[in-house]
Symmetry: C2
Subunit: 351 residues, 2 copies
Amino acid sequence: MASHGARGRSGGRPTLEEVAARAGVGRGTVSRVINGSPRVSDATRAAVEAAVAELGYVPNTAARALAANRTDAIALVVPEPETRFFAEPYFSDMLKGVGSELSETEMQLLLIFAGSDRERQRLAQYLAAHRVDGVLLVSVHADDPLPDLLAQLEIPAVISGPRSAAETLPSVDSDNYGGARQAVEHLLSRGRSRIAHITGRRDVYGAQRRVDGYRAALSGAGHEVDETLIEGGDFTEEGGRRAMAALLERRPDVDAVFAASDVTAAGARQALREAGRRIPDDVALVGYDDSAIARHLDPPLTSVRQPIEEMGRRMIDLLLTEIADRRPLASRGLERRQLVLATELVPRSSS
Amino acid sequence: MASHGARGRSGGRPTLEEVAARAGVGRGTVSRVINGSPRVSDATRAAVEAAVAELGYVPNTAARALAANRTDAIALVVPEPETRFFAEPYFSDMLKGVGSELSETEMQLLLIFAGSDRERQRLAQYLAAHRVDGVLLVSVHADDPLPDLLAQLEIPAVISGPRSAAETLPSVDSDNYGGARQAVEHLLSRGRSRIAHITGRRDVYGAQRRVDGYRAALSGAGHEVDETLIEGGDFTEEGGRRAMAALLERRPDVDAVFAASDVTAAGARQALREAGRRIPDDVALVGYDDSAIARHLDPPLTSVRQPIEEMGRRMIDLLLTEIADRRPLASRGLERRQLVLATELVPRSSS
DNA sequence: AGGTACTGTGGGAGCGCTCCCACCAGTGAT
DNA sequence: ATCACTGGTGGGAGCGCTCCCACAGTACCT
């Protein structure tokens, strides 16, 4: 029986010490080379690098994490009960951006689900254990305690979509306000004048901003905002259908609808069909997200695209900066810490 | 200046040692309690647990990993260039299953992208460093070197979808053969007789199995399999369109199509529309995956649902078993190590 | 000739655990 | 009484790193 943690290692993976011996230098020097310190002579560096290559040395992260008190990992926290969020392209696109940006670094990505109470409990434990250097928070609700927990634990975090206009955390968002404006202006330019809006959940700041954009576009074009043309939705298909039905009841003269999400638009479409309205002939329809649904709806749905992959990338940038900056006593301003990226209208035949 | 790794700890998180002192026991005893060893008296356990609670102790994973030579983490490797895979509900559903099953344990989930060569390089390094206890491999191609690498490093792995009939790795798959049969039998029962099949990529074993199922269903019903009704696709929309166009050219009398994926079906639908064929009146259409697209297509698409979330869960089960079993010299049979889960036909108005 | 100031380098200490050996009661068999 | 055992426990050693102090060597002043 070998010494102690012997499992499965036939000869064992090489350690720093072995590399040092091989290169004829000290442990500290190898560590310096591995970590790219400039205070190493070229000759020494070359010798160490050769030894590393010969031995196939790979640093042991656990040891590094223990000694250096950092983990080289960040967590993406997914509030999963929102199945909507999870199944939408939003999620995978963001992941794509996050992944691609992260692959430029040595950082690893952990996926943590914080859906159930048990999972949130576990997450709290996990964060308390400082097992990640930073956290990416997506789709956080206004009353979520998580951001405060993170602040308290002094763990750097970036949020996608501020919780309110007074958000203190670094954030990356798309221009919900501008996107909504684009959508409505597009409908106006198509000669529509009685443009309704089916909102998202009002406790989501982004949904609120879309309402603001809707209003602004109308006002900007000299129209009065008619409150009877605004109906509350919740981002779901069923919600969209109900809202559209209510709208048709109240305002049978409606000639266009801007829905706060593609899924909502799909629901609205059903209600319109059932009421015998043709799209776009009788009522034009515009969605938001430019998801797969938009392309496959009949007729294909005009929608507002958010640069989600780009948002994922930027979130990582921001987070890595936060992590790096944690050393000098933080408290720097929010200068470049809250980003808003432009949206783009994708016209299709529904409008 | 404090001792050494002093960053950010105001008083510092409690350590095992502190818990031991508080409970009036030795370090080893606390470790035993934390790890649920049975060789601890009830009184001692209670004392330790109290101390843990009072101090808010959370074990330091890095230290544990270093000492015990395990990581309590598994990786989900995503061959991301397959954007298809990534954006499809397949991915998020699987993730959901994986996450829910994992949340029963202390294991953490790492997401690793192995799209570009650089990423694969990094992955190899990562695995060589034994930074995970096990690996989940999804959507692996027949010629991927990854499984061999894993075998060589003796890292437990589970694959979703065997690479061939001779797969040696533990795997969890849905019943592609049976699912295809169901689809075709459904079409037969609807009175269709000239049923075409647009295949998936032939180098994907699951696609091959669907072809087999298609054939079997026809033969089983006493029909001869007409090779001119089988057309190669590649799981993409454009591929589906092309294949359908070719099919219509060659067999204008076709009265049903079984497509190897919903996306393929969406492409086929376009080609059918362009050719003026009505669905389902002239040609019935059945897809595979039961994705969001299926529900939102016009007309809604009959499709074969795979229990993907369940598959994710089972993969985790299998992997955890593999990890636990690694101790007794492996080499146990493949008895319960290759699972095939049942599919379900979801009829909609396209057939 | 003796400072002073570097740049490079070696290696001790320590990160917080797990593992295991040693040891101390009890308990039952001899 | 003596000799196994057994369940329960304490604590040394060590996992593979990073950090930092100490020190050699060289270069440039006084």
